[in-house]
Symmetry: C2
Subunit: 114 residues, 2 copies
């Protein structure tokens, strides 16, 4: 199935898996042993992560090592960043507004607002 990075990181267990293998690749059993759900459940999560490119699984003897492809997170990063200007500008405007309220209070005394 063609999968999406956004879908990949939607599940908290999958985010934990990514964190677990971010610095060091682990085989499937090692990953699974850190959770209290079954190995098969973790295997399915790993499969989803590999389907959306966030993990690459390489066979080595009878083990499969799971390597995080964190650079794929740039897709998420890019998506979020396109909105950063919008939200920071909006926060700045709020700040300006609050400052203006303050200065008006000083000039005219307490004023009823709603």
């Amino acid at each position: 199935m063609r999968r999406d990075v956004f879908q990949g990181i939607a599940d908290p267990t999958r985010r934990e898996i990514l964190n677990m293998i971010a610095h060091k690749s682990l085989n499937v059993n090692s990953v699974a042993s850190n959770f209290d759900v079954s190995r098969t459940a973790i295997y399915k999560h790993l499969k989803i992560l590999s389907e959306c490119g966030l993990v690459v699984i390489q066979q080595q003897g009878r083990e499969r090592f799971c390597e995080a492809r964190l650079d794929r997170l740039s897709e998420v990063s890019d998506w979020v960043e396109q909105y950063r200007e919008v939200w920071t500008k909006r926060l700045d405007n709020l700040e300006d507004y609050l400052k203006e309220l303050q200065s008006n209070k000083k000039k005219h005394g307490r004023k009823k607002t709603r």
Copy 2:
């Protein structure tokens, strides 16, 4: 229900909704009219978005205006950014490695690699 920002942005329709109201709040019907699924379906997406804090819905007469709270995306941004150093460093290492291969080739001629 307590919801998660990661879950909120997991669905492509919801990301489109966010984009649609990023610059200007719209009422529920206006949002829905941009999609070919039912108003109720969009309403449910809006509810999920509001449950995870990405949208605030305010009544105004008989309409409800949906405002994007894009600053909530910082949670996603923060999560991704904690891995940026890891992945850029890894790409740098790869680059160094490729450069080294190049210089070895110059010194010793073409060499079989596998």
